[in-house]
């Protein structure tokens, strides 16, 4: 098994996912991240996931696609996905693609934690 590209921690029923890499661009890396997060989603009946982008400088449309796939899987299980700490340049990518309408995006992980339903 290859080295994890994520840091995962659990607190108060919320799984926090952070990225090791500053650039989330290439297919192989994104596929590995997708599989790792999917396995986290599968562990819970109603997954509550908080993804922090605090270390991330760049992401590609393939990374957005992986996030959408993750969001769809979480919705299928009636779970919740929140995103936080998105750099302004990357937030602009969410705005251009209008994915800021699809995702729940917060300034900080604390703000995001407060937004989970109970």
């Amino acid at each position: 098994m290859s080295e994890s590209r994520l840091r995962v921690s659990d607190s108060d029923g919320v799984t926090l996912v952070e990225f090791v890499d500053r650039n989330i661009l290439d297919e192989a890396n994104i596929q590995a991240i997708n599989e790792e997060i999917t396995s986290e989603i599968e562990k819970s009946d109603t997954p509550k996931l908080l993804i922090s982008f605090s270390n991330v400088d760049h992401l590609s449309s393939a990374a957005l696609g992986a996030l959408i796939t993750i969001n769809n899987k979480i919705k299928e299980k009636s779970g919740e996905l929140h995103l936080a700490n998105i750099d302004p340049q990357i937030y602009e990518v969410f705005m251009i693609t209008r994915l800021n309408k699809l995702f729940n995006i917060h300034d900080t992980t604390d703000d995001a934690r407060g937004a989970f339903a109970s």
Binding site: E27, S61, A62, L64, I68, N72, V93, R98, L99
Partner: protein, 146 residues
């Protein structure tokens, strides 16, 4: 040379044939961005150019060469001056019709995981032009100093 090839031609460009090898692709992109910074392109420009070239190269290998020999290379041409960065990416596949791509920002398409690469290239670059065959794209970024 046909008219459409002339339209996406870059006069005096440097050309490289990239294999589907992530390290080689990363090394090329870093060299290109260093060159852009050296020519006076700022951080917004470098962010835009990195995103666009990443999307174009990914499209070439993942979609352009879909179902074809994995060893096929993608040709990348570039030219950087203080005023404009030009880059062309050409795959060896059958091409596609960019005008047939669905609008990924429509509500019914928002939760589809793919189909955003070309729109991001168009959003971030000053000009994006495909050849008629649809296997080559030329992009320009006009330097505004940002």
């Amino acid at each position: 040379m046909t008219m459409s090839e002339a339209n996406t031609h870059i006069e005096g460009a440097h050309a490289i044939d990239l294999a589907h090898d992530r390290e080689a692709i990363n090394a090329f992109i870093e060299r290109l961005l260093d060159e852009a910074e050296g020519a006076g392109f700022g951080s917004s420009a470098v962010f835009a150019i990195r995103l666009a070239i990443e999307e174009a190269i990914t499209n070439a290998f993942e979609h352009g060469h879909d179902g074809l020999d994995e060893s096929l290379t993608v040709r990348v041409e570039h030219k950087v001056t203080p005023d404009v960065l030009e880059i062309a990416v050409e795959d060896q596949g059958p091409g596609f019709r960019p005008e047939s791509l669905p609008d990924p920002t429509l509500l019914e398409n928002l939760s589809k995981p793919s189909g955003r690469g070309v729109m991001l290239m168009k959003a971030y670059m000053s000009e994006v032009l495909f050849n008629d065959k649809g296997n080559r794209v030329r992009m320009r970024y006009l330097n505004s100093g940002n």
